[in-house]
């Protein structure tokens, strides 16, 4: 399915097209990596809804990015359970090894570093989400190994399929 077909299939689940804006934005973001103005307008046109409704949601919800993000978006949880198990040290370490501050991206476009609120996986705190995947029970050694794996993966494939490092058959 192309993006338009996917969005139309999602819209069929609702009696009102406006409800389909959120799913449509998620589909569009997967396709384009982020949501610049022209993409928002395309979504509004496909669903035949007011453009302002689409802008409104794209800027309200934190999972939508109107600005580009790196190939790997490192989203470190720094809420209480992760903080109690050392997320602050991990943030300092990531900032040091990547040479960026939280919120920033590496110049090669590989990594964007953010802190996020509770990821709902506090049993394996501290936790970081990268693309679709959760990485738990992190410490500095595991962070280093993860960065190595991500860099190696970036060397071998293109960005689009990297985030899908999920178990086969799911």
């Amino acid at each position: 399915m192309n993006m338009r077909e996917e969005i139309e299939a999602a819209a069929a689940r609702y009696p009102d097209q406006r409800s389909a804006i959120m799913p449509a934005l998620l589909i569009a973001q997967k396709e384009h990596g982020h949501l610049p103005g022209p993409v928002l307008e395309e979504v509004a046109d496909i669903l035949n809804v007011e453009r302002i409704w689409v802008y409104e949601l794209a800027t309200f919800y934190t999972l939508f990015h109107t600005e580009p993000v790196g190939m790997f978006h490192l989203q470190l949880c720094d809420n209480v359970s992760c903080m109690l198990r050392g997320s602050e040290d991990l943030l300092r370490h990531l900032e040091a090894v990547l040479g960026i501050k939280k919120g920033g991206s590496t110049p090669d476009g590989l990594f964007t570093l953010s802190t996020v609120e509770c990821l709902g996986a506090c049993e394996v705190a501290p936790v970081m989400q990268v693309g679709d995947d959760y990485h738990g029970d992190l410490d500095i050694a595991r962070i280093n190994a993860l960065l190595d794996r991500l860099r190696a993966a970036a060397g071998q494939t293109t960005g689009a399929d990297l985030t899908a490092a999920t178990p086969p058959g799911e």
């Binding site: 406006r18 409800s19 998620l26 949601l57 359970s81 109690l84 709902g120 506090c122 705190a125 500095i140």
Partner: protein
């Protein structure tokens, strides 16, 4: 040993697949409900079980269902609240990842009871594995006739759709969730009208938490008296407790409602790391006021925790040991609420902004005399004056921290530094849990 009910499939290999679920007796409750009971009888079973909502407020589930008008011109909806944003909470994710059919069956029976033909599951977008597994479970259930038209030969038809959230804690509040589902910015609605009468698309709508719905098949199979026999009569049932923080065995524990907090944290979760003592425990996600170590004998149920000045909330149990600064924890919690405030009402939007500023200066050793009084006054200005419970939760949590650990706040201001700064928890603890 308590025989697990909700988690009985969780450790089973391929517990998320229909074949496994069915091998354990899955979908028999749906068949029983459709073939042996009227919808009203199901509502009565659930009422008699005394099941109370597991999403945080503990509202009696059967009573909520009975508010749905029997004859309505518009279609009725069931919404499953799987937004799970309360820090310290991960139970719904684990149900959906490991045993999604339990939720699908619970939704089908609940929808039959209230007369809904459509359900939306509002799942937070970060939960990608849960989303994939629930999608697959829905497809499997459709293929085998547990969902779709004329289910199991009855007159009941029912479909389930997944709606992914996009990162806003306020979407967990049920009326904000409805606005979000309608494609609007998520902000709570004025009540009444209550959703049971006028909810999604102004139609009668029941909103229930994942764990609440997962209880329903068991009540149908084993009866309301069995359910009421577990834990306190007014707040009964098997319960999922999410234990995290400074404890040796963080994890998801299924135990009876009402189990003493001390037993949960010290016996089941192994107590604090070696050489540490418990300082305080947050029993129900960060919206729940913390309980100092002396109070750990309280029972983990809605009424006992309310009587102790806290709440069961989402049963996100966060353990804080004596190496940790309470001012720091309180600051982080208020920062969270401030970040997630939807901005609709002034006491929450502006009040929390102010509280964050004061707390940050106290924590970093720049507190001024009078800051404590100011924090208390701000809590008074917020509590009871906000549009939804987010603001109240923030104020209650801070009040408890101030009441039980005033000495730590005072020390920060008097010494003009954080007394814990050299030995903040994380540093020497990384990777050292037994």
């Amino acid at each position: 040993m308590f025989e697990p009910v909700l988690l009985r499939n969780v450790g089973v290999p391929d517990g998320h697949l229909l074949a496994t679920y069915r091998a354990g007796g899955g979908y028999q409750a749906l068949a029983k409900a459709l073939h042996e009971h009227t919808p009203d009888e199901i509502i009565d079973l659930v009422k008699n079980s005394n099941l109370r909502g597991r999403g945080g407020a503990g509202f009696p589930t059967g009573m909520k269902w009975s508010f749905v008008p029997k004859k309505a011109a518009k279609p009725k909806y069931l919404c499953c609240n799987a937004d799970e944003g309360e820090p310290g909470t991960f139970k719904d994710r684990i149900i959906m990842e490991r045993d999604p059919h339990q939720l699908v069956e619970g939704m089908a029976i609940s929808a039959y009871a209230i007369g809904a033909e459509t359900a939306y599951v509002y799942i937070r977008g970060e939960y990608t594995l849960a989303i994939r597994r629930l999608e697959r479970a829905i497809a499997e259930a459709e293929a085998e006739g547990y969902l779709g038209k004329r289910i199991l030969g009855s007159d009941f038809s029912f479909v389930v759709h997944i709606h992914c959230g996009a990162g806003a804690y306020i979407c967990g509040e049920e009326t904000a969730m409805l606005d979000s589902l309608e494609g609007k910015r998520a902000q709570p609605r004025l009540k009444p009208p209550f959703p049971a009468v006028e909810g999604l698309y102004a139609s009668p709508t029941v909103i229930n938490n994942v764990e609440t719905l997962a209880c329903v098949p068991h009540i149908v199979m084993r009866g309301p008296n069995w359910f009421r026999g577990i834990g306190p009569d007014k707040s009964p049932g098997p319960k999922l407790y999410c234990v995290s923080g400074q404890v040796r065995k963080p994890g998801l524990y299924e135990l009876p409602m009402g189990i003493p907090l001390r037993e949960l944290v010290e016996d089941h979760a192994g107590g604090p790391p070696p050489g540490r003592k418990i300082k305080a425990v947050i029993p129900g996600g960060v919206s729940a006021p913390l309980i100092p170590a002396l109070g750990l004998d309280v029972g983990m149920d809605f009424d006992s925790l309310a009587a102790a000045g806290s709440m069961l909330g989402s049963a996100g149990v966060i353990v804080i040991d004596d190496s940790t600064c309470i001012v720091k924890v309180a600051t982080r919690i208020i920062e969270f609420f401030h970040h997630e405030s939807c901005g609709k009402c002034t006491p929450c939007r502006e009040g929390l902004n102010w509280v964050v500023k004061v707390l940050r200066r106290v924590e970093t050793g720049q507190g001024a005399p009078g800051d404590l009084e100011q924090l208390k006054a701000l809590c008074n200005g917020i509590f009871g004056n906000t549009f939804c419970a987010l603001g109240d939760g923030a104020a209650m949590g801070l009040r408890a921290a101030l009441a039980h650990f005033e000495d730590e706040f005072v020390a920060h201001i008097e010494e003009q530094r954080c007394p814990f700064n050299e030995k903040h928890a994380g540093r020497e603890l990384l990777g050292s849990y037994g």
